[in-house]
């Protein structure tokens, strides 16, 4: 049943989002209550590119529900390396598991894979495309810290290639937040994403300078700008430097501004921010487990 797949944050409704977050809050409050809930169930892990963190988070979530995982292992040791198509791989592996989690370097891979399987498939990142479970844990963190009403979120950094950003922007539109996008000119939102946000009636603006919007933000979501997006090291240093924050930057922000980051960070958030009340990125990462538990629970129960 295709409606059980989690491919893109675009397809998450407001009610769907709230029900996952509510369930996650219940689970976080009383994890013992679900400790055996999915005993005997198996989650198939297909990570076609390395992602220790997301993979650990899904494993922990499945095991804390009493279930277990089966792992394809690294690509260089699998039949993928022998040239097997993705369509074939998922059709084989769906026979081993009750649900699948997949990360793949190509855009659209999760959508295509989902068309070949009957078990629910969760997209854990497809190239520069979507990463909906990261979005759900981001939303959980935002709802807990700031709520969804009268919410203004600033999203800064690499908005072009950052799949985390694309997923989040869709979902923030769905929950009615105002969005301020801050990035260098060359790393603005891609056309497809901007088109969707406009179609969905998003309240959004694009900027190149954080200062213009910082004072009005409830949440600042920072992402990494990678050196490989620039022709040379100098250009990268010059541009990336303008999108780094430290405790002093944040003195112009609201007292209760929440700073988030999908991690790992490099130097876009200075360590002195960690000590401030603003920092919420480690909590955000921890929230991945209850949110993924909630999502797996709902999917395995067939209640999506």
């Amino acid at each position: 049943m295709p409606q059980d797949h989690i491919i893109s944050a675009k397809h998450l409704s407001r009610a769907g989002i709230e029900s996952v977050l509510d369930r996650a809050a219940e689970i976080a409050a009383d994890p013992d209550a679900v400790a055996d809930r999915h005993a005997g169930k198996l989650l198939g892990m297909l990570f076609f590119e390395p992602s220790t963190r997301t993979k650990m988070s899904f494993s922990a979530a499945m095991k804390r529900l009493g279930g277990d995982i089966v792992d394809m292992g690294p690509v260089d040791q699998s039949s993928v390396k022998k040239g097997e198509s993705l369509a074939d791989t998922v059709r084989v592996v769906e026979g081993y598991a009750d649900a699948l989690v997949m990360r793949h370097p190509l855009e659209g891979s999760a959508k295509m894979a989902s068309e070949f399987v009957d078990v629910p498939l969760i997209n854990a990142g497809d190239g520069a495309g979507q990463h909906p479970t990261q979005t759900l844990l981001d939303l959980y963190t935002i709802r807990e810290a700031a709520g969804f009403s009268n919410l203004t979120v600033g999203i800064m950094g690499d908005l072009k290639y950052g799949r985390t950003v694309h997923s989040l922007a869709h979902a923030l539109t769905t929950v009615g937040a105002q969005q301020q996008f801050v990035s260098p000119e060359s790393l603005k939102l891609p056309r497809g994403v901007r088109y969707d946000l406009h179609e969905a009636g998003a309240s959004m603006r694009e900027h190149t300078d954080l200062e213009e919007v910082l004072g009005g933000l409830d949440v600042l979501y920072v992402t990494r700008i990678q050196a490989e997006r620039f022709p040379d090291e100098d250009e990268y240093r010059k541009v990336a430097g303008e999108y780094q924050i430290d405790a002093e930057t944040l003195s112009a922000a609201k007292d209760d501004l929440v700073v988030m980051h999908p991690l790992p960070r490099v130097d876009e958030i200075a360590p002195d921010v960690d000590e401030t009340e603003h920092a919420r990125y480690f909590q955000q990462a921890h929230n991945g487990v209850p949110v993924r538990m909630a999502l797996l629970d709902i999917i395995l129960e067939g209640n999506l």
């Binding site: 198509s85 993705l86 369509a87 793949h104 370097p105 190509l106 855009e107 659209g108 891979s109 959508k111 295509m112 068309e115 497809d126 190239g127 520069a128 495309g129 891609p190 056309r191 497809g192 994403v193 088109y195 969707d196």
Partner: protein, 154 residues
């Protein structure tokens, strides 16, 4: 229909006449049909022919070939005013305008080299038709300009 047009249409015995093609798009129509001459197809083309409706139009006639729905769908994107005449035994047995579809399958190739449809997978390309342009159903890439450049057959 004027006599002149009737003459033109009835020149082929069996096949398709694509009329009212946007002026200058005839070669792109052939590309959509996968015709480059190497297959020996009998084709005649009129380019920038005066037209009451369009000012200038192209006409493409292909002997022995009827169009598939996928081909007609993509055709509608580059020649929205086109009419398709199916000819059998010198008679136009069917005549219809192209309609803008909700989706086009197979004929376009996604320009995103990082898109799963550009790899060796058993999946056809699929594009949603937007008010302006088309969008890959898999990776969300939007093609707005020069859609004909993305035609890929076979």
């Amino acid at each position: 229909m004027s006599n002149e047009q009737e003459l033109r249409v009835s020149k082929i015995t069996q096949g398709t006449v694509i009329d009212h093609v946007t002026g200058g798009q005839a070669l792109n129509v052939l590309a959509i049909l996968g015709i480059d001459g190497s297959g020996g197809e009998e084709v005649s083309i009129g380019m920038n022919v005066p037209s009451e409706r369009l000012g200038r139009k192209d006409v493409v006639k292909v002997e022995g070939r009827e169009l598939s729905q996928d081909e007609v769908d993509v055709l509608s994107l580059i020649a929205p005013a086109a009419t398709i005449n199916i000819v059998r035994d010198y008679d136009v047995v069917e005549k219809h305008r192209v309609e803008r579809p909700g989706e086009v399958m197979s004929v376009l190739r996604c320009p995103n080299r990082n898109c799963i449809t550009s790899k060796d997978e058993p999946v056809d390309s699929r594009f949603a038709v937007l008010e302006e342009g088309v969008r890959c159903a898999y990776c969300d890439t939007i093609i707005r300009e020069s859609i004909a450049d993305h035609i890929h057959v076979g």
